[in-house]
């Protein structure tokens, strides 16, 4: 195949890209190099680890689902509907990122806890109590992860050509149909990226979770919490646990994302 050389990847891009990659990957390599390999088999055979891992995956996925369901419409609202104070609302949405995680947990307790602003009504009217339950873990993770999805999807929406939506409306599509059948597929890569961010963030979430949902093995003890506890008594074990978490996420992400990404 006689192909025009697309030219080598330009150095001014390649160099920072590789430095960036090294920067992100190097600490992981260090973890691997210094990992207590002899400890690993113990970790892998402990049922609690698998319990925590399963819980982590389930909760992170549920939190991502919640984020998608609530966050994508919110991103659309911010990107496509003009309303007063939009800039302020957009800033509000990013705040959960800024909040130190433990304070985030405290804020969640104040809002949804037994004595919380809304929580007291949830409890007395519906008998729903979120804190210290698995649902609470999902709530805490969604609270922390959703802003990533919202901001990232909003950015993609703004970069997308709104005239496709116009074309859809001239074909009789309501704004919602246009959104669902045209906009959504068009920005699928952006949504996938946002979902990956949210999922990863939820998977690593620690401070808000332990404060809002506690640390009960099998119920609310996710991997980061288990890692934290292990760190207290056996730092090597903590690193081993982290590696398990990392391996699983690489597997999931490498598997999932290429399918998502190439679908579009």
């Amino acid at each position: 195949m006689v192909s025009p050389r697309r030219g080598p990847v330009p150095v001014p891009l390649l160099v920072p890209a590789l430095v960036g990659l090294a920067f992100l990957v190097l600490p992981l390599v260090a973890l691997l190099v210094r990992a207590p390999w002899s400890n690993l088999p113990d970790q892998l055979t402990s049922p609690e680890v698998w319990q925590a891992l399963r819980l982590s995956l389930v909760c992170a996925t549920a939190a991502t689902a919640v984020s998608l369901v609530l966050g994508v419409p919110l991103a659309w609202l911010l990107a496509r509907v003009e309303f007063p104070g939009r800039g302020f609302v957009r800033a509000l949405v990013t705040l959960p990122l800024v909040l130190p995680p433990v304070v985030g947990g405290v804020a969640l307790l104040m809002a949804l806890g037994r004595n919380g602003l809304v929580g007291q009504w949830l409890e007395s009217w519906f008998g729903i109590s979120l804190p210290f339950t698995t649902a609470g873990v999902v709530v805490a993770e969604a609270f922390v992860a959703m802003p990533f999805l919202v901001i990232s999807v909003e950015g993609t929406l703004r970069a997308a050509d709104p005239r496709y939506e116009e074309a859809a409306t001239t074909l009789g599509a309501s704004r919602f149909t246009a959104f669902r059948r045209v906009t959504l597929p068009l920005i699928a890569p952006g949504i996938a990226a946002g979902a990956v961010l949210a999922w990863a963030r939820a998977l690593g979430e620690f401070g808000a979770t332990i404060t809002f949902a506690g640390n009960f093995p099998g119920r609310t003890q996710t991997m980061p919490l288990a890692v934290y506890l292990a760190l207290q008594s056996d730092p090597e074990a903590a690193i081993a646990l982290s590696l398990v978490l990392l391996t699983v996420s690489v597997a999931v992400l490498a598997g999932l994302r290429d399918r998502w990404m190439s679908a579009s």
Binding site: L109, G113, P131, G214, L229, L231, Q232, P235
Partner: protein, 240 residues
């Protein structure tokens, strides 16, 4: 050792049943987990659930309405946050104490033998922040000996301080004896006399909103019993 009947009174006969939830400082994980198993054996049908975490996060949870029966804190100050908010029944009891030690690199290459040696210039020392219990105790010890010490960092907790030495980022840290023991041969402990004046109390309390106050009482009793104290001493804690 058979803890049967030790202090806490016996078995299902005292009507103790159900689930008891214990919020405990992360440093108590090993000892309390063992005590929990013993408690469950002593009281068939009772299940002990632990939530280990930073004392601060636990205190915040409890103030936020966590369904906990017992709170075992690593510092009187975090316990005070709960008692000030009226969250505890009665006065909290100190069940163990923890003494400071200097953690140095294995083999003590800098030849540190006293608190004063930490003020050597060029030495990278990490301390706990005064806001956290080990930091407060360290400050007390320094005050007693009239030393001024500028560390490279005030760590957020004792584990963070210890980690810095374990990874050889710092040459020394002032931590608890229990931590030095837990770290095994990755650090070397150096005792110093001022530590005696600056011990840290671990208080335990029955919580006001405890769903299972009876069982909670029984658990606290176990912790404070001789058998309980024995388990804790094995981990390096001092008796109150």
């Amino acid at each position: 050792s058979s803890g049967k009947g030790s202090g806490a009174g016996g078995g299902a006969s005292d009507g103790v049943s159900g689930e008891v939830t214990v919020f405990a400082a992360a440093s108590l994980k090993e000892s309390f987990t063992e005590l929990g198993q013993r408690f469950e054996k002593d009281h068939p049908g009772v299940k002990v659930t632990f939530s280990f975490g930073g004392s601060d996060a636990l205190a915040a949870s409890i103030r936020g309405g966590a369904p906990a029966d017992v709170f075992a804190s690593a510092s009187a100050r975090t316990m005070k946050i709960v008692t000030d908010a009226g969250g505890a029944v009665g006065a909290p009891a100190t069940f163990v104490r923890n003494e400071l030690e200097i953690a140095t690199l294995p083999g003590n290459p800098e030849g540190i033998s006293s608190l004063k040696d930490l003020t050597k210039s060029g030495l990278k020392v990490v301390l706990c922040d005064v806001e956290v219990p080990c930091g407060a105790a360290t400050q007390k010890a320094l005050d007693v000996s009239g030393l001024r010490l500028t560390p490279v960092s005030y760590e957020q907790d004792v584990k963070a301080a210890l980690t810095k030495v374990e990874l050889k980022e710092a040459d020394a840290a002032v931590v608890y004896k229990t931590d030095v023991i837990a770290a095994g041969d990755k650090v070397e402990g150096v005792e110093f006399p001022e530590a005696a004046d600056a011990v840290n109390d671990y208080p335990i309390a029955l919580l006001k909103d405890a769903p299972n106050a009876d069982a909670a009482q029984a658990f606290i009793a176990l912790v404070r019993s001789g058998a309980g104290q024995e388990v804790l001493s094995d981990a390096g804690f001092l008796k109150p």
